[in-house]
């Protein structure tokens, strides 16, 4: 018998989501009709978005802090450095300072921070709140208004908070929504369905099925991402959205940050831990990566491009 490349037929397609509009250079996520480029040209390269915070984040690991120490008081400057010096495709501005137990900044102040970052860079933004289920929707609502027409990704809608408010903020101001579930395909489906009912379309949703870091349950994420992407290509309309990875979770593993001579310098372990976590998610279908370390961002982008070209 002759050699024939094993190309499969997929009835479904991943929706394409545009981020960035108005004064932003757009970035596109998803759009795949197959798992691999040898089956079908892959429309969009993976995208990396650099984490930036609205406060000088005390808990950041030293290997990251040393790159940004000079700009951490100004989210705009921080964002600029991420884009100009470290080649970020996008910037995620985490409004951590709005946390009631952090600085309890008002939604209005949060909106000011968003304006500052929008002025500073022309890449699309992910807007993240503090993780407080009561306040997050209010913060995201004001932030969404401040960025009207710029098509940002609002992070996030989940089942523990008023996701309807987040969805409405996106619909009213032309943004997309990050739909976050915790390592559970059915939970993801349910949440997506709820969001679709709120008036969002497949092209307005990005999924975050949760990234468990290398060594901290990465195999759970591998299985969930694989099943989600296969379901999309098989035609499950509730799961046909691009996927996002909170790759920075990698820094939570102690092998990434803990000083221990037998393990070698954390300067190298940390970035590798982030690359491995992101790369593994990429190979299982993830489209956009939220990351922290310049070396990791550079290498992940480089390798990601070879998988689509």
């Amino acid at each position: 018998e002759d050699f024939k490349p094993p190309i499969q037929d997929y009835p479904g397609k991943v929706a394409e989501v545009q981020l960035g509009k108005g004064s932003r250079k757009p970035v596109y996520l998803g759009g795949q009709q197959a798992l691999y480029r040898f089956e079908e040209a892959q429309p969009n390269a993976p995208v990396v978005t650099f984490d930036v915070f609205d406060i000088p984040m005390p808990g950041l690991p030293r290997p990251i802090r040393e790159h940004f120490a000079d700009v951490m008081d100004h989210p705009g400057e921080w964002a600029k450095k991420a884009v100009n010096e470290f080649g970020a495709n996008m910037v995620t501005i985490h409004l951590i300072g709005t946390g009631p137990k952090v600085m309890d900044k008002s939604p209005r102040e949060a909106a000011n921070d968003i304006e500052e970052v929008l002025q500073a860079v022309d890449v699309p933004l992910v807007i993240g709140a503090s993780g407080d289920p009561v306040k997050d929707p209010l913060v995201l609502e004001k932030a969404a208004e401040a960025a009207q027409g710029e098509r940002c990704l609002l992070a996030s809608a989940n089942l523990d908070l008023d996701y309807q408010k987040v969805a409405q903020a996106a619909v009213n101001n032309d943004h997309a929504v990050l739909s976050w579930s915790i390592t559970d395909v059915n939970m993801q489906k349910t949440l997506n369905r709820y969001l679709l009912k709120e008036g969002l379309t497949q092209n307005d949703i990005v999924m975050d099925p949760t990234t468990c870091a290398l060594g901290y349950g990465i195999e759970f994420s591998i299985d969930i991402m694989t099943r989600t992407r296969l379901a999309a290509l098989k035609g499950d309309k509730d799961l046909q959205m691009p996927m996002s990875s909170g790759t920075t979770n990698a820094w939570g593993s102690r092998e990434a940050w803990m000083k221990k001579d037998e393990w070698g310098p954390t300067d190298y372990r940390g970035p590798i831990w982030e690359i491995f976590t992101g790369l593994t998610m990429m190979l299982n279908g993830v489209d956009i990566f939220m990351m922290l370390h310049p070396t990791s961002v550079k290498l992940l982008r480089e390798i990601g491009e070879t998988f689509v070209k």
């Binding site: 040898f38 060594g215 990465i218 195999e219 591998i222 393990w263 690359i275 491995f276 190979l283 998988f307």
Partner: protein, 457 residues
């Protein structure tokens, strides 16, 4: 595709005699389909039936053994493309290369590093699996000399030379130990194939970037009666990574989905190439080599050859391999109950944690390295971490109160004070109410526990 219990059942004697230790042939068939028992246990089965069953039970990817006796590593054996469908079998073998132009002292140093590389994670000691000896000089005597030295190593070998004379000379020295012959190519197929037969050794087939040719050559090796083959479709790095990935995926799909006999073999990748011809600084090389390895580990490599030996580079590789090859069907747990560390007496502190393997072993490691003297209560959370079992409800006041009773800890210590993980703070009140114990909320990370015990108690 995986064979079903029904397919297997049809070929069994169907007498339900019970010799295999199962209640019925159907039960045995189910276990066989899950690879949980051995076909040979069905003693009434006739040779013809045995042969048929062996054939349908053969894994989609052939298992290939490198080395022999206690110096052996088994690769291949996979049945599925995605681990959630079943599990992956036989962890990817991790190999380090040495070559025959190293000074004697350099060689000794390198062997020592390779043999001593180990990293403990969740109670498992993770190590490397084999050594590749490269005939870099092209010189036969140098090659033999290095190979002879490695005969005493604790690991099985891969002999790397495309020169069949030099290969034969090396096989004369270590052939009885069943090293992997690397490699047969289009040019030396005849000779290398013959050596594989003569010495009964597995052989790698190296055909860079051309699966059509690889299929032909694999076919030709097979038709000469060679069964143990490893496929190396080339490791292209840098811009070529996409091609490498495509080739690996295509080979594995052809094996698993199309049952294409020419591709039903383990796959080899060589991240070492990232270090060998490359002008980056050593650290960047190491990070890139590991990155290439991570790609291949995720997508079907069964054996990988590295050049770097830095522990910071190998720890992530070992960790990723461990994660990929854990069995998704089994929770990763330790036994619940009461554990003792150091010297304990009735005044010793009592700590609480969960029976998730990662959690338990992390805490255990911290208590041991901090030389703590303490009791540790391990709660059955069905193998869930502290915050996971908190979110899922397995860690609660009642379950902890029950654990206190079951372990009889109240008769071992003369106090009723317990330290719980920082992350478990939300249930501290509940535990106090249900157990009548006093609860102190400890640090978030268990690495701080030994110091905490010294300070607070």
């Amino acid at each position: 595709m995986k064979v079903t219990a029904m397919d297997i059942y049809k070929l069994l004697p169907k007498t339900n005699c019970g010799d295999c230790g199962e209640a019925s042939c159907m039960a045995f068939a189910t276990k066989l389909s899950e690879k949980e028992t051995d076909l040979k246990l069905c003693t009434p089965l006739d040779p013809e039936g045995m042969e048929k069953l062996e054939k349908i039970l053969a894994p989609a990817v052939r298992e290939v053994k490198i080395g022999k006796g206690d110096k052996q590593v088994i690769i291949g054996g996979d049945e599925v493309l995605y681990r959630y469908e079943l599990t992956y079998y036989n962890p990817t073998a991790l190999v380090i290369d040495v070559h025959d132009e190293l000074e004697e002292s350099e060689l000794e140093e390198r062997i020592k590093i390779i043999e001593n590389t180990e990293f403990e994670r969740t109670g498992e000691l993770l190590t490397l699996d084999a050594i590749a000896v490269r005939n870099k000089s092209g010189d036969k005597n140098k090659f033999i000399k290095t190979v002879s030295r490695l005969k005493n190593s604790i690991y099985p070998l891969i002999l790397c030379t495309l020169d069949s004379d030099n290969m034969k000379a090396a096989l004369e020295v270590v052939g009885d130990e069943k090293p992997l012959i690397y490699a047969a190519t289009e040019k030396n197929l005849e000779e290398m194939g013959q050596l594989a037969l003569d010495y009964q050794c597995p052989v790698a087939l190296f055909v860079p970037g051309d699966l059509e040719k690889m299929k032909q050559l694999s076919h030709s090796l097979r038709s000469r009666g060679i069964k143990d083959i490893v496929l190396d479709p080339g490791t292209f790095v840098g811009e070529g990574m996409g091609d490498t990935l495509d080739n690996f995926v295509m080979i594995r799909r052809l094996a698993v989905e199309e049952k294409d006999e020419d591709f039903r073999f383990p796959i080899m990748g060589i991240p070492a190439l990232m270090r060998l011809d490359n002008t980056d600084d050593p650290v960047t090389k190491g990070i890139k080599e590991a990155t290439v390895a991570a790609t291949m580990l995720n997508k079907y490599a069964d054996i990988l050859i590295f050049n770097g030996t830095d522990i910071w580079e190998l720890i992530p590789v070992l960790t990723l391999r461990q994660g990929l090859f854990t069995d998704p069907r089994k929770p990763q747990t330790v036994d619940a109950g009461l554990y003792e560390f150091g010297d304990v007496n009735e005044d010793s502190p009592v700590l609480l944690t969960t029976n998730f393997a990662l959690t338990y072993y992390t805490v255990e490691g911290d208590l041991k390295s901090g030389k703590a003297n303490t009791y540790l209560l391990v709660l059955d959370t069905e193998g869930r971490a502290v915050d996971v079992s908190l979110a899922g409800g397995q860690l609660n006041g009642k379950s902890v109160a029950d654990l206190i009773k079951e372990t009889d800890i109240e008769n071992k210590v003369n106090h009723k004070k317990m330290v719980i993980p920082g992350l478990a703070a939300p249930v501290s009140g509940e535990i106090e109410d249900d157990s009548g114990w006093e609860v102190a909320v400890g640090p978030r990370d268990s690495s701080a526990v030994p110091d905490y015990l010294l300070e607070k108690l």
